[in-house]
Symmetry: C2
Subunit: 206 residues, 2 copies
DNA sequence: GCTTGAATTGAACAACTGTTCAATTAAACT
DNA sequence: AGTTTAATTGAACAGTTGTTCAATTCAAGC
């Protein structure tokens, strides 16, 4: 039967999280039963309760991990405010695409299953989401103030950009016609245009 | 009252559809039980099966109605190809926002619960969705060909625009700080910029 | 080999699932 | 009135749900 790695509970937990992400993305949180998930990782359903106190906590843990990983990864590549807004914006755009494309299932979950969270769990995730959004809005506001970007509402534009970039994951396929780097270029051009960049690709507006 | 069909069966069905839309948007399709839905409209659970053959058919009906209404409404305001691409694009943008803002729950469902559809039901909805998307892509392609718009990939840009516009429904609140018409202006400016419009607001690029 | 403690299990629980159907009520038509 | 048809129901069916727990298997330390 299941040839588990014994006391290496870490690998087991990772396998559970992985399967849970995949199955929830495919069928939805409510539609996924603990028995089905357990079967996927060759365990009895009861064994799952050694890794998560209950189903809701499992979902919360998945979503929270996704968001904290996102913020941690962004913190690593984020440019200092001393850099110009267009350069910081390009860094954000490329980072967002690079980080999200290989994590399509996690992204999907994070935007779809928020409603399955209890109120307090939802609030905890929302705080993280807004932090990310605010970071982008700040870049846009800085650019508008410095005259290197041109847009009407930095907060609204930030939301629009994130929606547009995240939407990639709904149609991107690894074996599709467009490669990740092509997509990166196309979308960076789009973002550059919609924020009225002036320092780069000025030819676009001539 | 002269019709043979039902006392006010139509009104009952509308009430059921309404409640179903609301409850599914809030808790998800899988999480909504027929008994809970029936309770919401003061019926026994069994009575629902007079209006829909089963739960899956109900969801499909809701999503299909949403999409056909969208396409029908768009067909009414769509401009002929004789009009310039920028004008047609503006019509599309404003239409999309006006149509979606008062239908937030339906929109949410249409993008969230696709995975809860059976394969064939999914395909039927997908056909409609792509038709809408192709319509926008055609406008962009026409504009690019005529030189009145400038973008790299009309298909990709069409998806980006729809994602960005539809994303409004995730944060728009009727009692929020931004009114519908304000949002319409902001987003039309965004779309105009990202498609490199040349005939209007040329000052943006100067 | 024996002990220890963690990992896993099968069985059980009570509640809930979508769906069916004969029986019943409500309404419409004659 | 009565007759016909539509609308609704309660009860039942056969599964499934998340979760608990005593009993068991397992891997490592002695």
């Amino acid at each position: 039967m299941a040839r588990r790695v014994g006391s290496d509970g870490v690998r087991t937990e990772a396998a559970i999280r992985d399967a849970a992400l995949r199955l929830i993305a495919r069928f939805g949180y409510e539609a996924l039963s603990m028995r089905r998930l357990a079967e996927e990782v060759d365990l009895g359903a009861a064994a799952l309760y050694r890794y998560f106190p209950n189903k809701q906590a499992m979902l919360f843990s998945l979503l929270k991990t996704h968001m904290t990983e996102l913020l941690a990864a962004w913190a690593k590549v984020r440019l200092p405010v001393s850099a110009s807004a267009p350069v910081r914006l390009e860094a954000f755009t490329r980072f967002h695409i690079r980080h999200h494309l290989p994590r399509a299932t996690g992204v999907f979950l994070s935007y779809m299953e928020l409603r399955s969270l209890s109120r307090e769990n939802f609030d905890a995730i929302e705080v993280l989401r807004r932090q990310y959004e605010r970071d982008l809005a700040q870049i846009l506001a800085d650019g508008a103030a410095a005259g290197t970007l041109a847009m009407d509402h930095s907060r609204v534009t930030a939301r629009a950009i994130i929606a547009l970039l995240t939407g990639i994951t709904t149609w991107y396929r690894e074996d599709g016609p467009l490669g990740a780097s092509e997509i990166e270029e196309i979308y960076w051009n789009i973002v550059a245009r919609m924020t009225g960049i002036k320092t780069r690709e000025a030819a676009l507006c001539s």
